[in-house]
């Protein structure tokens, strides 16, 4: 560098974010700058800018204004304006005015991008400011809810654990285990084999297998223990744990944090917290005997969503709670169908797709489902599964989950197939990605078993992920598909609104905000062969791989949470007014703060989409 530009370098070196740059980068920086002078009162950034820059104030002052010309922020000497590089430092300001005669340094966005990529410490400055703002935004939204009535539905298992785990080595005798249980006043004990959970015994096991059975108490406890345990993670929702218990007919669930055992959840723990309508809803579903009764229970679902939205439930938890109820309804319908039709001739699994599979449902959405049938199926079994699928799909429709417009349902023979045929389907979709596959991708690349032979589903899923992992061409198609829905970034001045029809002056928050993130997460999951289906879990898993930085992963998770919260509050308001919930909030209904943060969230999506575009050269394939 020309050593005489040292003065400019020194000026930058004292100021964030440039103070995070190493010396050699700092020395190069002045050469890349341009300098302009803005007379007091002139528009900032200059209207005739030839390129996109970040602006650094060398002297003078600039007032940053929002779209209604309200003063948002004043930049003085050393102030940095990054909005034109689509960063989020002053996301709420749309333009500015030079408040004094002002000398500005201009740094091209293209160079900023390179620097951010090359220097993690420098990049962190930008990532952190985005993250902090989104985190704060989510917190504010949740705090605005009714703090007095914390929804029971959002209680996590860890909230219910009152005691540390009671464990004993797997080599202990039955008598030793029984003594420990009465000492600790617990109804169960976990048996550990070299630090790992090997099984549990409960006082029921003691009664049935030892006292009433013929195994003497000096025998090792392993003789009466239950192995093959279902466990839950400590952050599982209590409502989901309850459903797991009901499904398995057990009263005890070991609770883990990762691989470590942290406690035991009992049916009694749950019963104490089962006092709200929402929890009653789940247990009511178990009790009903007819589709009509089920439909009546299901009518309470919007009320549940309203309650959740008005407590401090996060969008993630609302989605999980609603999806769990849908699962329960589906299972009850299948049980009723099986009761009527008799046991299935060969094993099968009922699969749900789309938002239910991702556990991101809100209120009643369309139903997406499929049947996965064992390869042992004979042609004369077809009638049984046809009847089963018809009953369940009709039942779901009666419960408010209307038939899928694209006919992606188990009642469609195409989506009621053996494992072998499903493998062929996915093989074709992955090896020859055609518009059909891409259209179906949001349904069938997000699949989750709800009932039946789960092992068979895992076989299929492993097969799918093995084929998609590292499959460049397929991923490129999926990436291009993920770029079709763009966030409305002209949010402030020229918000992209839907005109005409019933959604006048609204925007489609599902397709412009939520779908882009779920699409991106799906691309990552398939590219990396990650099993999670829930978008947040996919992003968290992807952030552990090289495909997604931790910062960007967290930003996307926060952006999704914020956008989904906006949708849930919008729908709660509609439910309160007795309207049918939809995905079209009006920008006018949003507070200034919400609009600001929504724009932040949209920018996170845009930034990610740009990265995807570059990485997969998306758009060239279709």
């Amino acid at each position: 560098m020309e050593i005489e530009l040292v003065e400019i370098r020194d000026f930058l070196a004292q100021r964030p974010p440039f103070d995070a740059l190493p010396e050699e980068q700092l020395n190069q920086l002045p050469k890349s700058l341009e300098i302009r002078y803005l007379r007091r009162g002139s528009l900032f950034p200059p209207s005739d800018a030839m390129d996109s820059f970040i602006y650094i104030l060398r002297s003078g002052a600039v007032e940053l204004l929002d779209e209604e010309d309200n003063l948002v922020e004043k930049l003085g000497e050393g102030g940095v304006y990054t909005t034109d590089c689509q960063l989020i430092d002053f996301g709420r300001a749309t333009h500015g005015i030079a408040a004094e005669d002002t000398l500005i340094y201009l740094l091209p966005c293209s160079l900023l991008k390179i620097l951010r990529k090359a220097e993690p410490a420098f990049d962190r400055h930008f990532a952190e400011s985005i993250r902090d703002r989104l985190k704060q935004a989510v917190r504010t939204l949740q705090d605005n809810g009714d703090n007095g009535a914390i929804a029971q539905m959002t209680v996590e298992v860890s909230d219910l654990l009152k005691k540390p785990p009671v464990t004993i080595d797997v080599t202990a005798s039955i008598r030793q285990a029984a003594t420990l249980m009465s000492e600790k006043n617990v109804s169960s004990v976990m048996l550990m084999d070299e630090g790992k959970l090997a099984g549990i015994i409960t006082d029921r096991d003691l009664r049935k297998r030892c006292v009433a059975g013929d195994i003497p108490p000096h025998e090792p406890v392993s003789r009466i223990m239950t192995t093959n345990l279902e466990t839950v993670q400590e952050n599982t929702l209590a409502i989901q744990a309850l459903m797991t218990m009901t499904r398995l007919h057990v009263h005890h669930l070991p609770v883990k944090r990762g691989d470590r055992v942290v406690g035991m959840l009992t049916a009694t723990d749950l019963a104490r917290h089962q006092t709200t309508n929402s929890a009653f809803l789940a247990s009511d579903i178990r009790k009903v005997e007819t589709v009509q009764e089920l439909a009546n229970v299901s009518e309470r679902l919007p009320d549940l969503q309203f309650q959740l939205a008005n407590s401090n439930a996060s969008a993630l938890h609302v989605g999980e709670a609603i999806s769990s109820i849908t699962d329960s309804l589906t299972i009850r319908l299948i049980e009723m169908a099986e009761a009527e039709l008799g046991p299935p001739p060969v094993p099968y699994a009922w699969l749900c797709g789309g938002s239910q599979a991702r556990r991101e449902q809100t209120s009643h959405s369309d139903q997406d489902n499929a049947l996965l049938i064992s390869d042992e199926m004979k042609p004369d079994h077809a009638g049984y599964f046809e009847a089963l699928a018809k009953r369940v799909c009709d039942g779901l429709n009666a419960c408010g989950y209307i038939y899928c417009p694209g006919n992606a349902m188990a009642s469609n023979p195409k989506w009621r197939q053996t494992l072998q045929i499903w493998r062929k389907y996915f093989n074709a979709w992955i090896n020859k990605p055609e518009p059909m596959a891409l259209m179906l991708s949001s349904i069938f690349f997000d699949l989750r078993p709800v009932y039946g032979n789960i092992e068979m589903f895992h076989e299929l899923q492993t097969d799918i992920l093995n084929k998609s992992r590292g499959n460049g061409i397929f991923t490129a198609y999926m990436a291009a598909n993920a770029l079709q829905h763009r966030p409305p970034l002209g949010f402030f001045r020229t918000f992209v609104l839907i005109h005409g029809g019933t959604h006048d002056d609204t925007f489609d928050i599902k397709h412009r905000g939520i779908v882009p993130i779920t699409d991106i997460a799906r691309v990552f999951a398939l590219d990396q062969g990650l099993p999670p289906v829930n978008t947040t879990e996919r992003l968290e898993a992807a952030a552990e791989t090289s495909i997604l930085s931790r910062e960007m992963g967290e930003n996307l998770v926060d952006a999704l949470e914020f956008i989904a919260s906006i949708r849930i509050y919008h729908q709660a308001e509609q439910i309160r007014k007795g309207l049918k919930p939809d995905n079209y909030p009006s920008p006018e209904a949003l507070s200034d703060l919400e609009r600001r943060h929504l724009k932040d969230a949209f920018r996170v999506i845009q930034e990610m989409q740009e990265t995807l575009e570059n990485r997969y050269q998306g758009g060239h394939f279709i």
């Binding site: 005489e4 530009l5 003065e7 050469k31 341009e34 300098i35 803005l38 007379r39 030839m50 002002t102």
Partner: protein
């Protein structure tokens, strides 16, 4: 006005006829920037020379610094600083000002090696200088000695512009008012500590941007002839 421009162009043609084939001849063959050029289309080279004294016949050029402006935007990627070696010692009284020591000057290149780049960088462009007489006379003298003809270029002199502005506003000019580093604070421009050819060229460029936005607030009405001092 027309008269002055014509005379500058005729000076160029006259010099061209004298210049031996080579660097200066090529330079003089390049048409001068038209004085009606829109400011946004101008390419201006802000230039500063450090010299051993004020007399172009006796004194020597020690360094040049320059930076280009396009679209009324300074482009630092064009910044250039060149030390020039001289025969003999640097007089102490000038070293105090430009702070170039004999040792530093020894790392420079001879004037005949420096002139080609300087002329190439200026060809077809407008020269911006604070107190143009020094630069004009030293470069012209060097051209005469090396190539046998004078140096001709449309020039903007911020000192002359400042003088006009003071007169226009009926301000009395105090001693020192027209110096580069006393003018800058009037336009809210920062203080530069360093004083060398490049930082002074940059300081002059910034001062000109400030003056121009003051003199012609509307960019669409901004033309070169509004600022030309020669």
């Amino acid at each position: 006005m027309l008269n002055r421009f014509l005379s500058l162009d005729s000076l160029r043609k006259k010099a061209l006829s004298k210049a031996a084939p080579g660097i200066l001849h090529d330079y003089l063959e390049t048409p001068l920037t038209s004085k009606t050029t829109q400011c946004d289309d101008l390419v201006i080279v802000s230039l500063d020379l450090e010299t051993t004294g004020l007399d172009p016949e006796k004194d020597k050029i020690l360094s040049f610094g320059l930076v280009e402006m396009r679209h009324m935007t300074i482009r630092l990627e064009t910044a250039r600083h060149q030390l020039i070696s001289i025969d003999g010692e640097i007089p102490e009284e000038s070293a105090v000002i430009h702070q170039i020591t004999d040792d530093q000057a020894a790392t420079g290149i001879p004037i005949e090696a420096a002139m080609p780049e300087l002329l190439q960088r200026l060809a077809g462009k407008v020269m911006l200088v604070h107190y143009a007489a020094i630069e004009q006379n030293f470069i012209s003298t060097a051209c005469q000695k090396l190539f046998g003809a004078p140096f001709v270029i449309p020039t903007i002199d911020t000192l002359v512009l400042a003088q006009r502005l003071f007169e226009h506003r009926n301000h009395t000019v105090q001693p020192g008012d027209l110096r580069l580093f006393n003018l800058r604070p009037r336009y809210n421009l920062p203080n530069y500590k360093a004083h060398n050819a490049l930082s002074d060229a940059l300081a002059t460029a910034e001062l000109f941007l400030a003056m121009a936005s003051d003199m012609v607030p509307r960019p669409s009405q901004c033309r070169l002839n509004r600022f030309l001092t020669r």
